[in-house]
Symmetry: D2
Subunit: 223 residues, 4 copies
């Protein structure tokens, strides 16, 4: 499996309109150049189609445990299939859901051939989620998210324990996230056992998001 | 003000992909032909850009009381501005929010020049919401939604009381919804004092959604 | 109607066990001495029966829009009747509910003869809630709650506007809350048009809660 | 460890007032007679103190992931200590919480010496929760709750798989629940590997709740 560079656009201003397109184009370029790194863009539902015009490895940031029907304002998994979205982040630290909903989503996604990147605050939560066999699990200590203090430096044991805990239950790639600021933080996370990283503000709030994206891709490509 | 035909796509299968595009094209045709009727398409965030390629009077079905930032999987009002969406339904019977959030959304929408169609279960709730001065208020008794029993026949007093209750506080157009099945149900709602209707399954689950949309537009255009 | 001194115990340590009993006893003493002031103790469900052994004007801090039945961990209004609780705070700034739930609760409470003290963040929310005819409405700007900066000094217009806004719809007593620290803040709130106050930390976190309660009761009794 | 007969009072009418007291007294009698069976009464917060006057093995049905403080209408774990409640059900099918909250509650309960009976819909969820080391785990397929069709007859594999799945992670007793109607359903659950049962409507909605409670206790005592 390739190393994963998952970019959570969140809903920063750069996640919409022309800025989102610019990132999509850069991702396409980088993905073709560094084909040992898989770049996933996790985008807002509202700008997903815009990003998809230039890049095809796109996730949403949340999806609901429902099918097509009378659910005003929610997002059914089947809709991702129709619109060409590959999968979704779920249970992110900023958007926690019940385990029941996570279980429903993981099951439906499996049936539909959609991917799920499930987030966990702690190694224990990662171990718990492993029982649902999502495509990937990202471990992100919430107290470090957005701080600029990278988990791979400040709490390396969260990564190593998370990787071990998940492995005991299932062979699921573990990403590391929270506070990842520089490309070397991502490299360090992989050295600690992660199969990649989940990055957000470091890229989305950068002065030059495309350059920052390139730095991360280049650094991971050297591994 | 024009009469309003607001179509809540919900997340029926027809709300996505080519079916959504077909409805958008029909709406464009109808809007130009019957210019005394305003047709609003309230679409899922995920298919909004698709619909916007062919039609410009587009709402979302829900929006969050937040600005740009670290809010994974939510929708800030500012994003609607960037992406060309005119406004949003909020507080729909299937997606209730607190009054606090409704107040925040109404205020921010006003500042940004976005429109808000706020839903109410009852005349009392409509009266309450009127204090926030949304662009429109739709009164929909939840027990009739999706039943095929139109509010304008089964509970006409909900419309008349809703219209009166809102008027006492502010001059805000009131739409009627719930169970609206045939074009004549919409006509009847307007005769009862509504400025239009909020329709969903009658169109979205019709065998031929475009034809059904046309029937509603034509009927309202005769008023 | 008497002036109201409503004490929100919240879930401070002093809201449970012997400290709660001490406050109940002091309230009984004060209520008999200053019978122009109504003292309501709004207590946690878990300590309600303890408080009720010594004092009978007791509210809960939240109640659910449900009846008896299979609702593990929720609180039906009917239960208050059986256990001798007079009513409940609802929609407190720390426990917001949808307007739909508020409407259900207000209606059921009316049918059961229970009282509802509904909270509002703003004069607009107070005006909106007035349509539901709760027993009382408390206006509390959330940004002042727990700050020690009393609404009656920092934002007197919230009280006067709230009182006016409610009066336009229904004759419902309005209490003021948020940051009320000294007895004189309560007096000032009444002078601004409130029928009483909703106080929490000033009493519950006081070194001597009973003394603080007495100061408030004495001050209001002079009005 | 004793076999466990956990009675979820839910908020049936019999969960309050004199009916709750009658059940508490019967439980005391039975607990002393059949001391190989542990009877836990999981009661509403509002009637907990009433039940505690006659019986001391009492749980709540839900508790919040918070400490003492400004949390109007919620229940902190520390409050259980003060009021003499031994623990709480959490994550019941009718009151689902996020895994994050479950993790916080399990950790705080451990620190405070309180017990947690965590509910799971499925063997997978039970396996996941086992990583948090709660005192007990109850597996209850939600589709059988309240149906009168006992899990131990209709879906025995849920019990056996749940017991195995939990054992792989930690030595935590597993209870079975959902549709348990007759005492023999409880016996069958234990024969399948459960350490006891979680029962609700069978007792709480029985014409003679005390007699029903006795039947369950007697049957389990023969094992």
């Amino acid at each position: 499996m390739k190393l994963v560079l998952a970019v959570n656009f969140k809903v920063y201003e750069s996640a919409f309109g022309i800025q989102a397109v610019d990132l999509a184009r850069e991702a396409r370029l980088l993905a073709s150049r560094f084909n040992i790194v898989r770049i996933i863009l996790a985008v807002p539902a509202l700008s997903a189609l815009r990003v998809l015009q230039d890049y095809d490895d796109v996730y949403l940031q949340h999806v609901d445990p429902i099918g097509f029907g009378a659910h005003t304002g929610f997002t059914p998994l089947e809709a991702l299939k129709i619109e060409g979205v590959k999968g979704s982040i779920v249970n992110h630290s900023e958007h926690k859901i019940t385990f029941r909903d996570l279980e429903t989503i993981a099951r439906k996604a499996g049936e539909l051939g959609l991917e799920i990147l499930a987030c966990a605050d702690t190694p224990q939560e990662a171990a718990a989620i492993a029982h649902l066999k999502p495509t990937m699990i990202a471990v992100e200590p919430p107290e470090l998210i957005g701080t600029g203090t990278p988990v791979s430096r400040a709490k390396p044991e969260v990564i190593t324990l998370g990787v071990e805990a998940v492995k005991r239950t299932a062979d699921i790639p573990v990403l590391a996230g929270a506070g990842i600021t520089e490309a070397q933080d991502a490299v360090r996370a992989v050295e600690l056992g992660a199969r990649g990283v989940l990055v957000a503000s470091a890229i989305m709030k950068a002065k030059k998001p495309q350059e920052k994206l390139r730095e991360f891709a280049e650094a991971l490509a050297t591994l």
